[in-house]
């Protein structure tokens, strides 16, 4: 799916969030509108213009102690404002493995 490294020239096609991995444990997190991080996608700040996306990313990248590898990811807004990940990669990051019958 889209590599985070290819986002230098930021242009978004639809509603997006900023996501990263939390520094101390690596967990998937989303940038909130309170300049923090949350593990819950519905807490994420949603941006819909490229300028807003750029600003949110810049602010997120600056918080290097909180989370690493921040990038912009697409989301879909469903009926009633429910936020869903915008592609399979983000779906897996948000919902976990698609593997059934894990060992253990």
């Amino acid at each position: 799916m889209t590599s985070p490294l290819e986002q230098k020239k930021i242009r978004i096609m639809g509603p997006s969030v900023v996501t990263a991995n939390r520094t101390w444990d690596g967990a998937v997190v989303y940038r909130t509108s309170e300049q923090g991080w949350s593990t819950v996608l519905s807490d994420a700040a949603i941006v819909s213009t490229s300028d807003d996306a750029r600003a949110l990313l810049a602010e997120s990248v600056a918080d290097d102690v909180g989370a690493v590898g921040a990038y912009i990811a697409p989301v879909e807004i469903k009926e009633g404002g429910v936020i869903k990940p915008g592609n399979l990669r983000e779906h897996i990051r948000s919902k976990g493995l698609t593997i059934d019958l894990l060992p253990a």
């Binding site: 101390w24 444990d25 690596g26 998937v28 290097d64 590898g69 399979l88 990051r93 976990g96 593997i99």
Partner: protein, 551 residues
Amino acid sequence: MYAYDELDRTLINERVSEFRDQVKRRLSGELTEDEFKMLRLQNGVYLQLHAYMFRVAIPYGTLSSKQLRRLAHVARRYDRGYGHFTTRQNIQFNWIKLAELPDALSDLAEVGIHAMQTSGNNMRNVTSDQWAGVAPGEVEDPRIWSEILRQHTTLHPEFSFLPRKFKIAITASEHDRAAIKIHDIGLRLHKNADGETGFEVLVGGGLGRTPFIAKTIKPFVHGRDILSYVEAILRVYNQYGRRDNIYKARIKILVHELGIEKFAREVDEEWRQMSDSALTLDHSVIDEVRSRFSYPAYEKLPHMPDELKQAAHDPLFERWRKNSVAPHKVQGYSIVTLSLKPVGGPPGDATADQMDAVADLADKYSFGEIRVGHEQNLALPHVAKRDLPQLWKALDRLGLATPNVNLVTDIIACPGLDYCSLANARSIPIAQELTRRFANHDTADMIGRLHINISGCINACGHHHVGHIGILGVEKNGEEFYQITIGGRADENAQMGVLIGPAVPYAEVADVIEDIVEAYLALRDRPEELFVDTVKRLGVEPFKERVYATR
């Protein structure tokens, strides 16, 4: 087994305290991620989709029961209760917290396990035959040489800051179980006409974006000269290696661009200047390393014990024995492969409980020793034949006696999009579906030897190019698609598979593989003709026709 010396133990412990300090500084913000990344990679720590991943080396695939128990402990205490054995004799933990990593490293250090040479642009874990030291007809135990190379290259400046990662594999048997032809340097131990032991040296193998089979650069290098010769190769590589383009910086590209003859001349030139150098190995040095490998006190046992004769009446036991038990160099003993490929399971994963139980079985039946192979299975290297029936029962209870070694369900797969941040597509669920399609062991037996390899992107961690059937995940318009190749192989006759046609969507992969297998069954000229041999004889056309005629 191998006994580490004091130097190793000191080095490992120093690395742990160094890393503890680095993690502390990272978490406090004193180090940025940019500064820290190199440091974590030197300690086997990657960042994946959901968490950090921690890769631990299992040098030349040899583990003691004590070490395996410690790996189980790390899986249980710091991870989610399981680990993943890789194609390069490493184990990966997928859910480790950075804050707890120093503790995990420190627990492992107590039993001589570390993560050096598992990541970064340096010399990686030197891999070898998982049957080293026990395979009949072997020239010499290749681990002695793996260890000499390991010691020489660990933290050595010439090997620590390379243009890219660098991988060496060593075999000492006719049949190559270490896949030496797809390594940067492949070493085949053999004897020359005078009966001296040395190496055929191959260079420039590797998969990924531009796959190459390694070529022979020198048919015989005397054992005592192997360090200087390898170093000469590295020097030429370091001089020429392209650091400006990450995709072109592997030695395979250099060998391809210079041509093997010119590359060989350059290495020889470099090597001549180094001859008689301090790198020539003394007998005493080789003997010292040799003496650190201990072999069990084997008993004198009959070739065919009564226990085995009786158990032969049980068809389930017999099926497993024929599939998973191999001859040992000592009469009365066997090498037993433990399949980590249960039907429906993720290939190469083992739970902490399984690891503990295997450690116990190793103590009881295999002189406390376990091996890890590049096919992502485990092995017990010294099992008395009389114990095979008991061992089988115990393994079966643990889900480790699936009689599918080297068969269609013994799939090699990378973590793919379920874990890996570089992936295009998923690998593990494809493997799981295929094991269900071919779950009937009679059918799998009838199909015979067939290796399926799956990678979730072109980096080829699942060795898809050299699978008899290779499956590569690609992305098309945001959907998972898979390119399928056939006819590849990773052994002494290594070659790349050939693409059979356009990529197919996720939902169709298992059907396509079934079609390919059915075509093979119809086309093979006798049951003994292996899949790869049928492909070799007929080419890809008949398979292509079968797959795409109806699609």
